[in-house]
């Protein structure tokens, strides 16, 4: 089934446009090129509106505008009815099925927007060798469900941005729903299974009415089963939230790939600032110390010759006994008084006593000059000693200051590096990603713990249910009168088990088929043949791409690789579902780097051999990299331009040269 023709009448910026998709080559590939705002996405919306009655890709600007074309409104007369009409014609083996949605609006100049009157949806089936058959709304919907069920239309008409985001959100539940739809087991899931469950309940209640013990067990069993059902829902919800947080972490990791850890860097910067301040204070303190020593040393060293001269005079005078020995009269007097040396505590013998008395006499009798000389001796010696010590300390301080200055240089150099890094990356975003990742990580852990508790409760409840069912069965065996009822209950239980089992088997088979087909397609189309080893769809219906080293690498692959994986999965869904519908992608290379556009061009070329493919590009996206692959194989190429008033699409077809 392929789209043959689309006609848009008074739909948004399409006044009256007809687009044909005729396959002239072995590749059923068609292009629509248009600048941003020229109507490409609304073309996708028109398809959805015609087939399903909604516009899932509507931009904020378009939401503010009426569905009805603005020129149609302005040129209409007061009170006139104007139609918005989109017609999509499919063709398969000479049979045409044309879906038309028509909305009627009444124009009142006093109203801002035209007033909606009614909407009609119908389909017409026609062929050369048969009469046309018109299908009413309900019949048309049923017919459409056979081509592209509304539940999985997202896998047929989508934009490139979504292709890239395909695996960023938790898709497990959506993929599960899609598999249910394409397995066509909805009937089992939504109708047969619940109905059998209700019948079983009714039969047990009937048995209970005849035996109070059975009644009690039935009540307990129903309560336990209700609790089990709720618990199951809670567990499913928990799994979903775990998947969301896991994907969230992967997204953050992808965003943060190669990005520095801002929190750590800022902590480092904070520490460096503190170190810088501390080091500067240290240097300042040491420079101050050094300055004091230098000042003192400068005086001492320049006066040192005079000190040396004076000390020499003192020395000579002492040799000549012109000045008394250097001793304290107080100490000498104290020693004599106590008959004991005040310094070493030795008792004074007569010789020592005489010597001390002589010294004391000498000091007392010395001249004023001698006293002056005695008084200068110690301070001058101290100055010279200090000078020696100061020189050593100057050297030490200089070394310490040099070392601290080098440390300061290193700190400042690292600070410069960090500031450069911070300038290069969007700090706000990076911080946000780190915070988000932390949040997801916490949520993931919390939900894992919650899941553990719930699963434990589920296990216990399962045991309780089995116990109650056993109890019920034993009691039923005793009821000779209710053999028929017992048979019915057993039959119903078995039927329910079969339905559930069948559903699981079909789901599993479908999942396996999709997994296998996705793998085939991906490995056929991927340009890096050696990098990836496998593709798995988990029990939670999550897709995992396995690197040849054995780890899951979905979070770290490029946008082009992710897009190819999404495309392979989509095509696998198409294939397994048996819905031979076209694939329409708006901005298919929006997130893809230049070097990979060529690769994707080849992919689309391959895909369009077996499937009608309609791609919508902006002129800049349709760069040489991709056009050199596509231009030679494409069929129709349309260019959307806006009219001078910029409110209407002007269509131009470009023939292949």
């Amino acid at each position: 089934m392929r789209i043959d023709n689309i006609r848009l009448l008074n739909y948004r910026q399409f006044r009256d446009v007809e687009i044909s998709f005729t396959s002239q080559k072995k590749h059923d590939l068609h292009l629509i090129i248009g600048k941003n705002g020229s109507g490409k996405t609304n073309f996708l919306n028109a398809l959805n509106w015609c087939l399903y009655g909604d516009e899932p890709h509507l931009s904020i600007q378009s939401k503010l505008l009426p569905l009805l074309n603005l020129n149609a409104i302005s040129s209409a007369e007061e009170g006139a009815d104007i139609n918005v009409e989109v017609e999509v014609r499919f063709v398969k083996e000479q049979v045409y099925i044309c879906f038309v949605r028509k909305a009627i609006f009444k124009i009142f100049k006093s109203e801002d927007f035209p007033v909606h009157q009614s909407t009609e949806f119908e389909a017409t089936i026609s062929a050369e060798d048969m009469n046309s058959k018109i299908l009413n709304e309900e019949e048309a919907k049923i017919q459409l469900e056979r081509f592209i069920p509304s539940g999985i239309r997202d896998y047929f008409f989508f934009d490139g941005e979504r292709l890239d985001n395909y695996f960023k959100e938790a898709k497990g539940q959506n993929i599960r729903d899609a598999i249910i739809t394409i397995s066509q087991i909805e009937l089992l899931e939504s109708k047969i299974e619940p109905r059998l469950d209700d019948i079983l309940k009714e039969l047990r209640r009937a048995a209970g009415r005849m035996n109070p013990k059975l009644d009690n067990t039935t009540q307990l069993l129903e309560e336990a089963k209700d609790r089990y059902k709720n618990l199951k829902k809670e567990i499913q919800g928990c799994h979903k939230e775990i998947a969301i947080s896991k994907k969230g972490m992967e997204n953050c990791d992808r965003n943060l790939k190669g990005v520095p850890d801002i929190e750590r860097i800022e902590q480092e910067l904070h520490q460096l600032r503190a170190d810088k301040k501390h080091t500067k204070e240290f240097i300042k303190e040491y420079i101050g110390k050094k300055a004091n020593i230098l000042f003192d040393s400068s005086i001492c060293v320049q006066l040192a010759p005079s000190f040396q001269y004076s000390l020499q005079v003192v020395k000579e005078k002492r040799i000549n006994k012109e000045i008394p020995p250097p001793a304290s009269p107080v100490l000498l007097e104290s020693s004599l008084k106590n008959n004991q040396c005040t310094i070493c505590a030795r008792e004074l013998d007569s010789n020592a006593k005489n010597h001390v008395e002589e010294m004391l006499q000498e000091i007392k009798l010395s001249s004023e000059i001698a006293n002056q000389l005695i008084n200068i001796e110690y301070p001058l010696k101290n100055c010279l000693d200090r000078l020696k010590h100061n020189l050593k300390e100057l050297h030490e301080l200089t070394r310490s200051i040099d070392s601290k200055e080098k440390e300061l240089d290193k700190i400042e150099e690292r600070m410069d590096q960090i500031e450069k890094i911070l300038k290069q990356c969007n700090v706000e975003n990076v911080r946000k990603w780190f915070e988000q990742r932390k949040g997801y990580e916490e949520e993931h852990g919390k939900k894992q713990r919650q899941l553990g508790v719930l699963e434990e409760r589920q296990k216990k409840l399962q045991e309780k249910i089995a116990e109650l069912e056993n109890e019920f069965n034993e009691e039923m065996k005793k009821e000779v009168k209710n053999k028929e009822l017992s048979k019915q209950i057993n039959f119903c239980k078995k039927s329910l088990e079969i339905v559930t089992k069948t559903k699981e088997v079909i789901m599993h088979e479908t999942k396996k088929k999709i997994e296998s087909k996705t793998k085939d397609l991906f490995f056929e189309l991927i340009w890096k043949k050696e990098t990836f080893a496998d593709i798995e769809i988990s029990d939670d219906f999550d897709i995992n791409l396995i690197h040849f080293m054995g780890y899951s690498c979905l979070g770290s692959i490029s946008a082009a690789e992710r897009e190819l994986l999404a495309l392979s999965f989509t095509l696998a869904l198409h294939d397994v579902s048996g819905f031979e519908s076209p694939i329409i992608i708006d901005t298919p290379v929006a997130r893809v780097s230049d070097e990979n556009r060529e690769n994707l061009g080849k992919v689309f070329s391959n895909v369009s051999k077996d499937k009608q493919t309609i791609l919508l590009f902006t002129p800049s996206e349709y760069s040489d990299d991709i056009s050199k692959e596509i231009e030679r194989i494409r069929s129709n190429k349309y260019v959307f331009n806006l009219s001078a008033a910029e409110n209407e699409v002007v269509l131009k077809e470009e023939k292949y040269v």
């Binding site: 300055a291 005086i299 060293v301 040192a304 040396q308 001269y309």
Partner: protein, 145 residues
């Protein structure tokens, strides 16, 4: 009344030079870094080192002798002794102070010239270099043991 002076003087014209020492952090009087006495002793050391002294034309009291500690007194006595080569000078305090004042009067100009001769920010380095060179020329072990 004692004939011992109660203060040490500078030449009135030197006040401006002393104030200009504030240009260098290491010599600064403002902010309490250095005292007038310390500045005076440094100027004195420059005069003695270069063996120049100059009589004061007009005196201005610079700091009081009560601010001199035992070490300062020993230094001033030592300079007088070195200058006169006579221990008798130690009994004449006014002469001891006069000798110091005259060395400081000559030395402050030398200090000021040195300060202006070096590039901004390198005075301390120059001072450090001079201290090391002068220290290396000394033989400190002779008398000090």
């Amino acid at each position: 009344m004692s004939d011992v002076p109660d203060r040490l003087n500078i030449d009135k014209k030197d006040r401006d030079l002393y104030n200009k020492l504030d240009q260098e952090e290491i010599l600064r009087f403002k902010g309490g870094k250095r005292t007038r006495k310390e500045q005076f002793l440094l100027a004195l050391s420059f005069g003695l080192k270069n063996n120049v002294s100059k009589p004061l034309n007009a005196k201005e009291g610079w700091f009081l002798t009560k601010d001199l500690n035992e070490e300062d007194k020993a230094i001033l006595n030592s300079i007088a002794l070195y200058n006169t080569k006579s221990v008798e000078v130690l009994n004449r305090k006014s002469e001891v102070f006069k000798i110091a004042e005259e060395y400081a009067h000559a030395g402050i100009r030398l200090l000021f010239d040195l300060m202006n001769s070096v590039q901004f920010g390198s005075f301390n380095k120059r001072l450090e270099l001079d201290v090391i060179n002068n220290f290396n020329k000394l033989s400190l072990n002779d008398v000090n043991e």
